[in-house]
Symmetry: C2
Subunit: 404 residues, 2 copies
DNA sequence: TCTTGTTTGTTCAGCCATTGAACTTATAGG
DNA sequence: CCTATAAGTTCAATGGCTGAACAAACAAGA
């Protein structure tokens, strides 16, 4: 998502120095829970107050941060003026295409969701072109709603439950899509001139969780119809060679297990996917599976509890492999799993304790998603604002050009 | 291993600018296959010739690079003087503690092995203290040998087949070690004043392979008595939260499989570890298992071929999970696997093709280790020199202090 | 009310690394 | 011997950070 991450093989000129410190200061502003003063930023970042002052000036001029009204604060000495991320300024647009709905949201630099709209639409009954059309309409409304709050959309990211490479969707099994390209800019109405990106839904959800939880490294696993995953390492999304990392749904649980639609056998999805759990629980097909499962589990329904126990065991086996491989301290369960966590957790933790070789020294934690079903949508929007926060200089430069 | 990687939350002063470009230029010198001239470095790095000149001067003064004799080169114009990594200068000491031998080697900044010595010693019959004693003697000889070649040892790293945390070895099953600390500096003779580190053997082997092969991202798997692994992402070793990443030997192949000594069931080691392959092949215990397997396979011995086919299948299942999770393009087989690759590869590639969901668009490559059984030893030594190459400024600073 | 002490934020000279252009050095080719 | 070309060096200019001095804003005590 970030247009071009700073490479360590780049030469460093004076300007890059400023660029780095611009990002450093901005990060302090967005990261601290209390609006910091220039002096506090200086103390925390290691820069001098003089440098911080000029940098803050530049950020204010660019509309990325703002000064707070001088509120009286405790303590002796001249009170500092708090610096906050700009509430009016750039906004990130997140869009989600899922099996039976479309969604759009907008976040500002503080991470607050300033607009959110969901529209039910079954993609399986429509062509990709129709989906893009409907999404463009939603996006138009979002752009308008956001403008009314004095925010300027700075870009958009679309979350898709499938494999994405560059600007094309290789395959999205549950949508029935193959080789679908991003819509052309001229078909996008209000998004026309904005940078637009597509990415995998679970990957973006992981990004959303990263901000919502503050965790530096974790494995995100989302269970819905399919099982998706995302890996965050040291605060950064890990994409792998092609951006396809995190595909835990097709990790093998039992080499001789049931056939999977992916062509393999014994994939995790065959044990812990929605359909597998439903069938094992003896529930009817086509209903509101998640609600039925939660109800059944709450009422102590035997087959349902057994089904969840089995799913948890399979999840635990897959996660153990991942933890052994990545030595990662936390697993975040999202999607339906977030609501089923109470019944999944015992089996998952049992398997982790048995199968992770370092479990006795550093047991991995299992927790539920903080954003729930909005994770991918919010994560997509955050991807846009995050790119600005990571490299404010680039944003300021483009802003200066468009102003001229 | 690198003392402290540059953090993105550090403030940047002018000096860091120089530090960065120092490393950038040095990297160009070590990376290019032909000794580059100052002008070529400037063109390749994006810096100006003026800057490169002053930086090269600084590196020459610090003894990290040297000018080549002005050889006549083709083409019109003033010929450039080639810059090469200093052949005399800092050296890295690699040490390896394995089940039945100790080894030491030294590499210079070019990566060339300048000294290498192996001594047979069965650690299972000796205490850790005795091992350290014997290793210190070997290291002493290495320091002397290296000094005779006008090299100055800059640090040492010990490779151990076990789980390392900080300066202690948590557990090394095949050595029979638990909670063993690094030897005290005063017990180390010629190593007394050098920075010393321990790390996992497979992790260091991965590092060695990274330099020997030039691959940017790969998964290294080494099969000997145990199975170890290391992950290299974008040129950097990935350690995970505690440095324990890469433990692929205890990934579950079959949740109901045979008991493993680690307390779990169905671990990869139970299918593709030396002992498992030997038993499946019907070979006698205690012999030269690897040699027997290679002989048997060459002669078309049925049980041996079957055993390798089964091991390859299990490896393929485990690697498929890893590739699905990490989206990594290359798998490097080391240790015994390197010599057995011809018989393992078909099964591994078959499973990867079946089980990796992105295999049809980007099939993962399987290749043999370039360093063979020396990978861990050389990798350990390289870890030292790599730290210098990654941050020459730090090295120059300590050098300046000790000179004063 | 006035003074003192404390902390914030700004100003400015000094410093440091990079740049770009001019200049010197070294070679090939006519 | 002269010209063209490329490598390497020198040097004034530039941009960004630092440190110290200073102005501004406040609390506490006399």
């Amino acid at each position: 998502m970030p247009p071009r991450p700073p490479r360590r093989d780049d030469p460093v000129r004076q300007r890059s120095l400023r660029d780095h410190n611009l990002a450093l200061v901005l990060r302090h502003v967005t990261a601290s829970n209390r609006p910091p003063s220039r002096a506090e930023i200086a103390a925390a970042s290691g820069l001098t107050r003089a440098t911080v002052s000029t940098i803050v000036d530049e950020l204010i001029a660019g509309g990325l941060v703002a000064e707070l009204e001088p509120v009286s604060r405790s303590g002796v000495g001249r009170p500092g003026t708090g610096i906050v991320p700009a509430g009016t300024g750039p906004a990130g647009l997140g869009m989600e295409v899922n099996v039976d709905y479309l969604a759009v949201c907008a976040v500002d630099l503080t991470g607050a969701v300033r607009h959110r709209q969901v529209r039910h639409l079954d993609q399986r009954e429509h062509s990709p072109a129709q989906t893009w059309q409907a999404l463009a309409e939603l996006a138009d409304q979002a752009v308008a709603a956001v403008a009314a709050q004095r925010l300027t959309p700075a870009g958009g990211v679309i979350a898709v439950p499938g494999l994405v490479e560059g600007d094309t969707i290789r395959i999205a099994p549950n949508l029935g899509w193959q080789q679908v390209a991003l819509p052309r800019p001229e078909d996008l109405g209000g998004l026309r001139d904005l940078p637009l990106d597509v990415a995998n839904e679970a990957t973006l959800a992981a990004l959303g969780e990263r901000h919502a939880t503050g965790l530096r490294s974790f494995l995100y696993v989302s269970g819905e119809i399919g099982i998706g995953g995302g890996i965050v390492l040291d605060g950064e999304l890990f994409g792998g060679s092609h951006g396809w990392a995190g595909e835990i749904g097709h990790v093998t649980i039992d080499p001789q297990g049931p056939d999977c639609h992916c062509g393999s056998r014994g994939c995790l999805e065959q044990y812990a996917g929605e359909e597998a759990i439903r069938a094992a629980a003896g529930l009817r097909a086509g209903g509101a599976v998640l609600a039925d499962l939660v109800d059944g589990a709450r009422q102590g329904d035997g087959p349902v509890l057994d089904a969840l126990e089995h799913a948890g065991t399979a999840l635990g086996v897959a996660l153990s492999g991942a933890v052994n491989l990545l030595d990662i301290g936390t697993v975040v369960l999202g999607g339906h799993y977030a609501e089923l966590i109470d019944w999944l957790r015992p089996a998952i933790e049992r398997e982790l304790a048995r199968r992770v070789i370092t479990a006795r020294w550093a047991p991995a934690k299992v927790r539920a998603s903080a954003l729930g079903s909005d994770a991918a949508l919010v994560g997509a929007a955050r991807a846009v604002t995050q790119a600005i926060l990571d490299d404010p200089a680039r944003f300021l430069a483009t802003r200066a050009v468009s102003a001229a």
